[in-house]
């Protein structure tokens, strides 16, 4: 069923793109569909991973890899997540847990998660995600490699993670039967660096006032692009966005007509269909111009020291380390993108993401950027009440309208 779904999606998107209806979002979605087709293709060789796994390394080794949260997001976006989450209730999984993780565990019970060849757990970003990897390893009787992502780059932390990455490549080779080809890794690093540079350019364009970015344009972009790092596809997608935003800026075309309010979205988006984007754009001329994870926090990787470079990247992700670092990063984004306010969905069950909402709110308040803290389950649409959200958004937008811009 899932293979058919992704296959049809890929085919439909390819037809549209070939017919001259290409857009960056379609190119991006087609690559996601291709990934889904490979994951559900029944050909084996799949690795389920944590979010900060080194996907360029895995891609260089020919492994179809994906973070487990993808399954929850996919089921939510297609509107079928409810029954999978409900399945975990029967397992004795507390409803206090993150719905991304409940969804994937429920899906695994219902045979909707392809059996992996192996798994790669990561300690960053969260305890819950790592526990899912362990549970899937137990369920499928497959081996896992756990990457401990240190909290910062001090002392021997980069070396420690780089050594683990070398171990991981040997672990993967033991499963695939093919040792890491240094030339393949070099090509992957080259692609990663090229995609990185293109993404950085696109983000620079996104900072323009008005911004060429509409709320939906870069939803989930930064986090999902990690899956394609190391591949030609990553370069193609990144180039498509860069070119599109460059054109829009040249044409002084904003993502939202008559842009009035610029917003920063903290953490991840709501994954099921909802009316928030339209409310923001149509009623308030507001656009999410920057998402927390749509940023390049790492230097280009030295092809002669790929493991160290990948290690630095993994450690640099904003969810890692202290909240002081995360707040400093959010402040940087708020300044660079000249946002008027921020939205924190506070995904229910996410201790990592929402745990410190008070500290994040305080930090952004220091630079005059108010935060709208929502209480939402970003995956489970059954808990979503649009009316309540509309009221909260209306109040927030009215408050923003009644205060000077932090950047005036």
């Amino acid at each position: 069923m899932m293979h058919e779904f992704f296959s049809n999606l890929e085919s439909g998107l390819s037809k549209a793109i070939d017919a001259g209806e290409a857009s960056p979002r379609k190119i991006y979605a087609r690559e996601l569909a291709r990934l889904g087709t490979r994951l559900y293709g029944g050909n084996g060789g799949v690795a389920w991973c944590g979010i900060t796994a080194p996907f360029d390394l895995l891609n260089a080794m020919g492994v179809t890899s994906c973070f487990v949260e993808f399954v929850g997001a996919m089921l939510a976006s297609t509107g079928v997540v409810g029954s999978f989450i409900e399945e975990t209730d029967h397992m004795g999984y507390s409803s206090d847990a993150c719905s991304y993780h409940r969804a994937v565990m429920g899906a695994s019970r219902k045979g909707m998660v392809p059996e992996p060849a192996f798994l790669v757990g990561t300690t960053n970003p969260c305890s819950g995600g790592l526990a899912v990897i362990e549970n899937l390893a137990r369920r499928f009787g497959k081996r896992q490699y756990v990457l401990h992502i240190p909290q910062d780059q001090s002392g021997g932390n980069v070396r420690f993670l780089a050594e683990q990455l070398r171990d991981l490549s040997a672990f993967v080779a033991a499963h695939t039967g093919a040792p890491l080809d240094p030339d393949a890794l070099r090509r992957a690093v080259s692609n990663t660096n090229e995609a990185r540079a293109l993404m950085a350019e696109a983000y620079e364009f996104a900072k323009a006032v008005p911004s060429p970015v509409a709320t939906k344009d870069l939803a989930n972009y930064g986090i999902v692009m990690a899956l394609f790092l190391g591949t030609d596809a990553a370069v193609d997608i990144a180039r498509a966005f860069r070119d599109e935003f460059a054109k829009r800026v040249a044409d002084t075309k904003s993502g939202v007509p008559n842009e009035k309010v610029r917003l920063l979205w903290i953490q991840n988006r709501i994954q099921f269909k909802n009316g928030i984007d339209d409310i923001l754009a149509r009623e308030y001329g507001a656009s999410v111009v920057i998402d927390e994870l749509n940023d390049i926090t790492w230097d280009a990787i030295d092809p002669d020291e790929p493991f160290e470079g990948i290690a630095r990247r993994s450690i640099s992700i904003p969810f890692n380390g202290s909240i002081a670092n995360r707040v400093a990063h959010l402040k940087k984004l708020a300044r660079e993108y000249r946002v008027h306010g921020a939205v924190n969905p506070c995904n229910w069950g996410c201790r990592q993401g929402t745990g410190a909402r008070g500290l994040i709110e305080e930090g952004l308040k220091e630079i005059g950027v108010p935060v709208l803290n929502l209480e939402v389950d970003c995956i489970d649409s059954r808990k979503f009440t649009e009316g309540q959200f509309r009221t909260r958004i209306e109040a927030f937008m009215e408050m923003l309208a009644g205060r000077p811009s932090p950047w005036s």
Binding site: G92, C98, A131, V146, H148, G155, Q164, R351, G355
Partner: protein
């Protein structure tokens, strides 16, 4: 330096021996003190109540004077606690010590280096400059406490400790918070009052989970007809496991001992995924328990995620299982009375 200066801590993986070695007294900030609920201003409602109650205490000023606080990077909630502490108690410096989730040579070495960093921080807070000899002394102090608690645990299991497991929990709390010499003297006194003959009856149960510092909780178990024969809790035996400091590098030995003790759900064997389930079954059998009770703080992801496998393993073995969640208040524990009574009654 004043030898009675305290270092606050909150996790069973804290290197207490190092704190002793630095000349400080470890003080566990237990979530058992009533104070205003203010942590919600900083941390989300769905975060671990243990962490939030510790923060409540910090914000209310209901912790004794501390020279510093050592937090372990054991889970998302503990990491957030370290962040929140730094924001609300700027007068008490805090350190976050990284903690591997899997145990192998590489991660033990990494943790060893983290302990070395922690030792340096303790020194910067006014602790003594550590040497192999002072670390050995710190380990010795920790082990003297651990050995006494081990004997008290054996007495409690045999039914010869006056007051039973509630009294044992009081002893754990004492050892977690009192200066070491005072703790040792009082533990010796408790041991000297051991009964000659066993007392107590009830259905033998094994209790595991995380934070359960309230002695009254164990009284509740006993009142419901259970007889606790063993526990694996981070406010109990897990905190006071002995440290084997043999070897040329005492820090590595401490690292190895801390990571090698009975694991919290957040630590696991990558080669044996979900091994917590088998560990619980094995320990229940070892203790001769007829049933198992899990007690965990709400919103604890490491336990939430592993509990279904524990439930399945116990069901396979035919061992009745009751999972309880609470918010680290006596009130929430009391609300479980009816479930506990029904659970025990079922086995009579």
């Amino acid at each position: 330096m004043n030898e009675k200066r305290r270092i606050g801590y909150t996790c069973a993986y804290t290197p207490l021996a190092l704190i002793h070695a630095a000349g400080f007294s470890p003080y566990r900030i237990l979530p058992d003190v009533d104070c205003a609920d203010r942590a919600g201003q900083v941390l989300h409602d769905n975060l671990c109540p243990h962490v939030k109650r510790v923060l409540d205490r910090a914000m209310a000023g209901s912790v004794p004077e501390l020279a510093g606080a050592v937090f372990m990077n054991s889970c998302d909630a503990m990491r957030r606690l370290a962040d929140a502490w730094a924001a609300v108690r700027r007068d008490v410096p805090a350190a976050l010590v990284d903690l591997p989730v899997v145990v192998n040579d590489r991660t033990v070495s990494f943790f060893r280096d983290e302990l070395e960093r922690c030792a340096g921080i303790l020194q910067s807070w006014g602790g003594v400059i550590m040497s192999d000899a002072s670390i050995a002394e710190g380990v010795g102090t920790h082990n003297r406490i651990a050995e006494r608690l081990e004997r008290l645990r054996a007495l409690a299991r045999e039914g010869r400790l006056p007051g039973g497991f509630p009294a044992l929990q009081e002893a754990y709390n004492l050892a977690s918070t009192a200066p070491p010499e005072e703790a040792i003297a009082r533990l010796d006194h408790i041991e000297s009052s051991a009964l000659a003959a066993p007392s107590g009856d009830g259905i033998p149960v094994f209790v595991f989970g995380n934070v359960l510092p309230e002695p009254e909780a164990f009284t509740l178990f006993e009142d419901a007809g259970a007889r606790v024969v063993g526990e694996d809790l981070c406010t109990g035996s897990r905190l006071f496991a002995r440290i084997d400091a043999a070897g040329p590098d005492p820090l590595r030995a401490i690292a190895s001992s801390l990571l090698g003790r009975t694991a919290c759900a957040r630590t696991f064997d990558a080669e044996h995924p979900g091994g917590l389930a088998e560990t619980v079954v094995t320990r229940a059998r070892e203790f001769g328990a007829r049933a198992v009770i899990a007690y965990t703080a709400k919103f604890c992801d490491p336990y939430i995620a592993r509990m279904p496998a524990v439930r399945d393993a116990l069901r396979t073995e035919g061992i009745p299982f009751l999972a309880l969640e609470g918010d680290c208040t006596l009130r929430s524990i009391g609300q479980h009375r009816t479930r506990l009574e029904a659970f025990i009654e079922m086995m009579r």
